[in-house]
Symmetry: D2
Subunit: 352 residues, 4 copies
């Protein structure tokens, strides 16, 4: 989590709305949806009576796990699912309850929970992104016809319209927005492979069960598990990091414009200095650059985590858990900062 | 260049066929194609007589620059184009020769040359990739029905068919192969923005000139320059690094299978040891892991290079020049190593 | 913070004892110590009466800031100090109270607070490290004379004594332990540079004031500020990451030994599987590898944050705040995991 | 190798003097020195007659290997040493020739060759560093008393003397220079562990042989091999990357000063633009930033390569071979660029 234990740093670099999507509660609710949908799939395959299945599904969705015991067990097990399933099984009884988790494996639940969280993150970030694009359109409308000195290789080049610079801020954001539908498809994959990835426990019923789970969860069933092939996660990490880089570019530009002075830009607000009361620092612009660089490092770390050995890698999974939520929070925060920054521009360029 | 100055290391980790695509000669030929196509575009816009244009284009394509003088000037200029253009202008005369490079800027040439090189790299790597997929299909045919012990979290799990492990090697490669057409579209963009990115020198003729250049070079004209918005490069870097990661996963698995012994895999060849003549080391498998990790770091570096400040960043461009050819060579070498490795598998799994 | 908002993941990868050293409360207590020591220094230089100074110091140390208002202001200011100082000034009155923060700047407080936290982290981690070395000595005593198959390049090589492998685990840890005294010296530097790094507001009194602050805080005064020269932080980040890598190597080895089977190692505990009750996964060993790789990425990010432009970089500071606490927590957690892992070894190697 | 196959890019970002230290020829000469010193050690231990040893040593040092055959074999063996030793053994005959390479392993030769190259790189870079510090002293002498506007968080702060900014450029360089003696000690370690790291083939003679080799090569014998404990390499990588970051900071500052204009700095030379003849781009300053960021990524990659599994990791060694020479070249080039840049400053600050 960007910002760690420090409240002020979390306020500056974190994103609570997004962090909540990766909370214990959110993840365990995903687990429940998965286990419930699995029962539905087993019923579809004729392994449980429909009525017993409905009853089980209801009770699974109502089940409240003991988070503290799961946290303790997760250290021993390296993953929270075994204890979650132990608790769930203990809480259930009656016809079919022996079939809870049948055919599934821990990673099926954690990966699917991650996918569900990422889809929500995409919802949130793409909505903010579209608002930011609208902010830039408004800036374009009110200041695009003013004049700026273009800067190439850190030197004044020629005069341009402010619209030119606003365009190079907006174009990559618009392109990222247009990639959202395909991103949702690439990321929204049900994970379901069972103990060793081949759904062998379900035999000929595997396809039916998988399709039912996917349908219930509103995810795509890619035809087989992807325990070691992580494109759904990488597509999302890549998109977010390109997005935070596009925002970092705006931050870098605004910081340099603020350095050059009032012929380039006017900003309201601005950070105060403890030592120099006259200063108004472009701190939100600086923050955007820091967030972009942080995400660049995290996505590099995601690439490092892409070698999942054999049928399941505890090491690589653990890395992904540590990295992905931070990429999401960082991107979410950057979007908020980007909107703040554009909104604080009181003047861009000068009269030509 | 992976492998540096050392011949043996280049043999082990480099890829000469791909390195040649980034050689001075290859780049300067790209420059010539760009400058020639630009003349064609200026003619289309009525700025040069068609006959004069044809003559100029011919002479541009025939021009041989002095590479040593360009190398020397590139240190002073931070980019090779100004000296290339000086030499080219000096070599030309007659009607229209004053219009050489008119409306263009150095980065238009270097970026377009990079795009041309990357498209060739995609040709080479995707062809090798398809051969590797065929190699895996052949392995599937001859050994897929044998038995392996699945390994999850570094422990024996259940028996699987060898086909299961071969599938998790092949699936991501197949998916990467299927992304090639869209990758070509994302990467194959003409760069053309002129001095400050807005093609202002060409006024109303900009669209005509740009479309003509793109047509001549077989590239897509995205409607504006992308001096600071680097998706065409990032799409390619991402694809290559995901590809080398998928190969690294195969390498990691084979190395672990070799560690577990002959019930898992038999390999022909294998590295000799200077101290222990009895050993046959799975060095190609190890190499694949190293190449994957190297590319992961380089792609992290590409993400770091994504903040191109203002209208043109010399810093970020220089970083991209240093990184991208290495990603390409590393990926190319990994594909060769992957084919070697699969070809060296004499036996996978055991009779069930 | 490794582990983000999720409780189970924090348990698995975080370290609350270390996280607390970077909490708001811990940082604001550091701020108070700094501001108090500064008053002492100003008194030493004759700028405040000794009695007034004592009274002020006492009240500064007793002051409790409003953390929520600081968190809110930190978003606007990009740093928590201006609001902290505003609140502190408001809470004080009487002789000398106008001199609170005189000559200092925000970064002096945040950097010194970071240094104080890092020194405590070094205390904690080096104590754990020495216990881990003792654990390895105990393992050596009980199993060192047994026999292992050495593995080079993923192949069986020759027989070795288990003591050989334990030695290659222990040697780098011992070397890291021996570096602690010099690390404390490199990291334990007072930050004090004032508004623009040259302590100009204090004129000829700067040396006296600085030496007094350093003395009060038990830090070394390097003779000038280091707002942009970050060796004190890099020395610490480097040491921690080399430490977590040394632990990751142990984890990797144990995971591979567990894969090879009982002739190599016996482990008690071990993670349970939700799908395969017979398994005992070496999850702590895997965790150590993940933590090492995570820290490697974070230290790479610290290197990226080393270009602090001009007299003060808000961007680079923000990055450091985001990265350093995570490196510390990750290292702390890895040490705990390392001790767990060594303690869980019931048997190493076999009778020769 | 930074700059790959392209001549102009190598001129811009590479360093031929340093690249040559990692050439085949340089490495094979190191191999010969090692094998010759080993014979001397075996003689010291009484395993070869002194006269036979002298004759063998002479012939080993005179031996010229076939580089092409080594390059070809290195692909199969994953390391060049087995073929080098095969050729060497074939070239030798007579008393004692059977003992060539006795007790040693391939990694002993490659690591020791790397250490020898790194010590030479430290010689070259530290000499350049001291010249650069002198350049800064000269700049201090001629311009230190002029006035600059301090810039904190991208905003004008207060006036400072130019000496203040020159000091924050020079201080970290001076500190890095002062670390050179300890760096030489940390890096200058003989690698000698034999087949599985315990020198078992040499029995009780191991210490004598090792001490003799170290003495002959002018290296320190740390008492055991360090096949998997890579502090000698990491110390060097860390120092170089901190050095290039210190240079990158100077580059960043100068580029920003050039952006701010002539009240801050005057530069002679400067890059020409193909499109805007009036421009003089601070391309050397930009280059320094790019080199620093590149090295940051490479050192992150070195940290990733620090998990050497079991008694020898082919994967991690290969990564180190790919990364370290590039870090050295990048640092060497940055020092040359730094001197160019400081030498090109015609004016700093303004009259107060």
């Amino acid at each position: 989590m960007p910002g760690g234990q420090s409240g002020w740093l979390r306020g500056l670099t974190g994103d609570q709305e997004i962090a909540d999507l990766f909370s214990d509660q959110a993840q365990f609710e995903s687990f429940a949806r998965f286990e419930s949908a699995l029962i539905s799939g087993l019923a579809e395959a004729g392994l449980i009576e429909p009525d017993a299945a409905s009853e089980l599904e209801r009770r699974i969705l109502e089940f409240t796990p003991d988070e503290n015991r799961i946290a303790a067990a997760a250290v021993a097990d390296g993953i929270p699912v075994p204890e979650y399933v132990r608790q769930l099984r203990q809480a259930l009884s009656g016809p079919g309850s022996k079939l809870v988790h049948f055919g599934a494996t821990s990673q099926d639940l954690t990966d699917t929970a991650t996918v569900e969280a990422l889809l929500r993150v995409i919802d949130i970030t793409s909505a903010r992104l579209d608002l930011l694009i609208a902010d830039l359109d408004a800036l374009q409308a009110r200041g695009g016809n003013r004049t700026l000195k273009a800067i190439t290789r850190m030197q004044e080049a020629l005069d341009i319209q402010a619209s030119g610079r606003i365009r190079i801020w907006r174009d990559p954001l618009k392109a990222l927005s247009e990639r959202v539908p395909s991103l949702r498809l690439e990321t929204g994959k049900l994970q379901f492979g069972g103990a060793v990835g081949d759904l062998q426990a379900l035999g000929g019923d595997a396809g039916t069960v998988a399709a039912t789970i996917a349908d219930k969860l509103g995810l795509d069933w890619p035809g087989s598990g992807w325990h070691t092939a992580r494109r759904p996660l990488m597509a999302c990490a890549g998109w977010m990091t390109e997005l935070s880089a596009a925002l970092g570019k705006i931050g870098q530009d605004v910081a340099m414009m603020a350095l050059r002075g009032s012929a380039d830009i006017g900003l309201s607000g601005g950070g105060s200095s403890s030592a120099m009361p006259h200063k108004q620092n472009p701190v939100t612009a600086e923050r955007l650059v820091a967030l972009a660089q942080f995400n660049a490092s995290l996505t590099g770390a995601m690439h490092q985590a892409q070698i999942h050995e054999m049928e399941r890698s505890g090491t690589a999974m653990t890395l992904e858990w540590m990295i992905l939520p931070q990429i999401c929070e960082t991107t979410g925060n950057a979007l908020l900062a980007g909107r703040e920054l554009i909104g604080s521009i009181t003047r861009i360029g000068h009269e030509s």
